[in-house]
């Protein structure tokens, strides 16, 4: 027997429609709605309790509501231990999907209780939680309830036997890449793949190309002579000694350094820590990568209003796109707050 705690919203939990969407979290004994169907599908599943929460209650205070949910689950678990928490299915419902995935993530991470939920693959919660939560594929609306419950019932039983779930179980990809040792070398696999391809057979690429995040450039500045301009580089130019220990590759750090009193960089003041190129020429004249000298001339000649007093630097070498995106989202609001209108980004 697998003892399950089930999370449902106010509607599926039988407390009411949109008018009841503000209902706080409530722990009810036994199964409700879809939970009854789940138990009929697999008699090994016993739903010991159902946690019900209103869509708005969760959406409006997700963080504290998730804390409350964890506390209620912990209480139930202490009284009668549960083997698993399942949430939903929530299909393509926005508020409900976030609640299901958020509660699963918190319960699994903080209480160590296995969890799973079922969502439409394009539910916004999938993108947010897929790396940490077991999310099964569901259709976009309640018409797919029976199918979703069957998928969930099978996954509960497989997960309880300790076998890992895969795409064949309806598991949505976590979107992460994992190394493994193949049975043949890369060269052998390449030649076999080419032969299969030429003969018209079906092949599975080992790395499906991602969709690139193309950012439309901001409109040009109409009057640069009054604009505040900042310098940012991924070319690894840092104050001598690399005070923030920015890595020569796969950078996890990005530094902010003052250039307020500097007219140009010198080999005595700055250096490159970038691992992807021979730094001889960057070290001999760091302005080659971070063009402070040229920017100061433009400032003196009145082509730009003012150079911002801080520059940001990291190393682009092997640095993941996720990290680079994080640096960007951290730096941009700081610059906007300081009235910076444009940035010169230099790489190598």
């Amino acid at each position: 027997m697998t003892r399950v705690l089930h999370y449902l919203n106010q509607f599926f939990g039988g407390l009411g429609g949109e008018e009841a969407a503000g209902t706080p979290l409530t722990l009810l004994e036994g199964a409700r709605g879809p939970g009854n169907a789940l138990m009929r599908l697999d008699p090994e599943i016993e739903i010991v309790a159902t946690l019900v929460g209103g869509d708005n209650y969760l959406a409006e205070h997700l963080e504290t509501a998730v804390d409350e949910a964890v506390a209620l689950v912990a209480e139930q678990h202490a009284a009668v231990p549960v083997d698993m928490l399942i949430a939903g299915p929530a299909f393509n419902a926005g508020r409900y999907g976030m609640a299901c995935a958020g509660i699963c993530a918190a319960v699994e991470n903080r209480l160590g209780i296995p969890t799973l939920t079922a969502l439409y693959p394009e539910n916004a919660a999938v993108e947010v939680y897929r790396r940490q939560v077991t999310i099964l594929a569901a259709t976009d609306d309640v018409m797919g309830m029976a199918e979703a419950l069957e998928t969930m019932a099978r996954a509960v039983s497989k997960r309880m036997t300790g076998r890992p779930l895969g795409p064949e179980d309806g598991l949505l990809p976590k979107g992460i890449r994992e190394n493994y040792i193949a049975s043949r070398t890369g060269a052998e696999r390449a030649v076999e793949m080419l032969l299969t391809r030429i003969k018209g057979g079906s092949i599975t690429t080992e790395y499906p190309m991602p969709e690139f995040d193309r950012v439309p450039p901001a409109p040009p500045i109409e009057d640069a002579s009054n604009a505040v301009i900042a310098l940012i580089t991924s070319g690894g130019i840092v104050p001598k000694g690399n005070p923030d220990h920015i890595e020569s590759a796969s950078a996890s750090r990005c530094g902010a350094y003052s250039i307020a009193d500097l007219d140009r960089l010198t080999p005595a003041s700055h250096q490159s820590v970038h691992g992807g190129y021979d730094p001889t020429y960057a070290n001999a004249d760091p302005n080659r990568v971070l063009p402070l000298d040229a920017a100061r001339s433009l400032e003196r000649e009145g082509h730009i209003g003012r150079l911002f007093e801080t520059y940001y630097a990291t190393v682009g070498n092997a640095t993941s796109v996720d990290q680079a995106r994080r640096f960007g989202t951290e730096i941009a609001p700081l610059l906007v707050n300081e009235g910076v209108q444009a940035v010169v980004l230099t790489s190598t």
Binding site: P173, A187, M193, L194, E206, Y207, P210
Partner: protein, 413 residues
């Protein structure tokens, strides 16, 4: 024209008369070798020669190149004649860091599984160079020292018995008109200082793309002169034993026709990249290839060259399979390449180089261990007080080799 490899398989390695080889026992005069290397090059100040065996509790840092000692005993031109080679053995150059992107070889423990060189007997040259030497001179001094050492070790092989021989047959093989025609595009790193590859003595920055007889490339035509990250640096050893050429020769005339190799380069300017890619595709089309394997070296910038080649081949209706590694972040959650193209729909992955590995301390270390914190794949604090390391696979020699030398791969979960 034939090329014959006569292998002398090394089963033990010991101090002794230089290059003496009998029944699998190779002897090396370590002091004599060190003296010879310092005597020939003023840039080389000190050389320590270490003999290392598979399974040793030994860590070698910061490794620059790996070379298989060979001697041409008959014939003059590359790609023909008789070559005596020491199988199961390599020369490794190491020492203080030159350009951030040298690597680690662990001979045992969890790190050993990620480098093919842990399975070989190694003659390790720890080289110190003159103070104040520019980094490209430092690189050149070590590259030449390694090649010279390999030469000295192999020099006496003609006088000893080889234990196996292999004829590398290529143009003699009947080419069946019913079999598909496969070309190999060997994309070599060539971006200037510290990112160079040498082909028949010429820097690959110029003179490529060009068609080669595959046997020429296996016959010591290609020398590594670069400091890309250790994981996907094609060492001289990898070129000497290019696994794509080996694999294509194996099925040549039986399962496919191997029509030749197009060696091409990775220029640093966009227009030159486009020109190299177009020329490489045109050369393969001239070989009437139905399909092509494209290998790679390094990451980031060369991703653009790879994608241009794939697009170019797709335009010509020539099917491709490309070999690349991935930089998907330590958690595997980032996109893996710096450039992509929709036509790249047949890709072999040789692993996520950002994956972290824990390497326990070793009783013997060759080379300056603290330099590891500055290696690509290491970081400040990656070296424990006890000598243990936490590094990305990026820092391990050959871990994600993009000629497809090893078995590591990567999948989505």
């Amino acid at each position: 024209m034939t090329l014959r490899f006569e292998s002398c398989t090394v089963r033990s390695l010991a101090e002794g008369a230089m290059g003496q080889f009998e029944r699998g026992h190779l002897h090396v005069d370590t002091e004599g070798l060190a003296r010879a290397l310092t005597a020939r090059d003023a840039r080389v100040v000190e050389v320590a020669v270490n003999l290392v065996r598979p399974g040793d509790a030994t860590r070698i840092v910061c490794c620059k190149d790996v070379i298989q000692p060979r001697l041409k005993v008959r014939g003059d031109d590359p790609g023909e004649g008789v070559v005596r080679l020491l199988d199961n053995l390599a020369v490794v150059t190491c020492g203080p860091i030159v350009g951030f992107q040298e690597g680690i070889i662990d001979m045992s423990g969890p790190g050993a599984a990620y480098t093919p060189f842990s399975e070989l007997f190694l003659i390790v040259l720890e080289v110190d160079v003159a103070e104040g030497l520019a980094s490209h001179e430092h690189e050149a001094a070590l590259r030449e020292a390694g090649l010279h050492a390999a030469r000295l070790i192999a020099e006496h092989l003609e006088g000893y018995q080889a234990d196996s021989e292999e004829d590398l047959l290529w143009d003699e093989q009947p080419v069946s008109p019913t079999l598909p025609r496969f070309a190999y595009v060997d994309l070599m790193l060539s971006q200037g200082l510290l990112h160079d590859t040498w082909v028949l003595g010429e820097n690959a920055v110029s003179g490529l793309p060009r068609i080669f007889d595959p046997r020429v490339l296996l016959d010591d035509a290609v020398v590594s002169g670069n400091c890309v990250s250790a994981c996907d640096k094609n060492t001289t050893y990898h070129h000497q034993n290019n696994p794509v050429i080996r694999e294509l020769l194996r099925g040549h005339g039986r399962r496919w026709n191997f029509v030749g190799v197009v060696a091409t380069n990775c220029p640093t300017r966009l227009a030159e990249k486009a020109r190299s890619a177009e020329t490489a595709v045109a050369l393969a089309r001239g070989l009437e290839a139905d399909g092509a394997i494209i290998s790679k070296e390094g990451f980031g910038n060369p991703d653009a060259d790879l994608m241009m080649l794939i697009r170019g081949f797709a335009r010509e209706g020539i099917q491709t399979v490309a070999i690349t590694d991935e930089f998907a972040g330590r958690d595997g959650g980032s996109q893996s390449l710096a450039d992509t193209t929709p036509e790249a729909n047949a890709v072999i992955s040789t692993g996520n180089a950002n994956q972290l590995v824990q390497l326990p301390p070793m009783s013997t270390t060759i080379g300056p261990l603290p330099d590891v914190t500055r290696l690509a794949g290491g970081y400040a604090g990656c070296l424990g007080d006890d000598g243990s390391l936490e590094v990305e696979l990026q820092a391990i020699m050959g871990a994600t080799n993009e000629l497809g030398f090893s078995r590591l791969s990567c999948r989505g979960i």
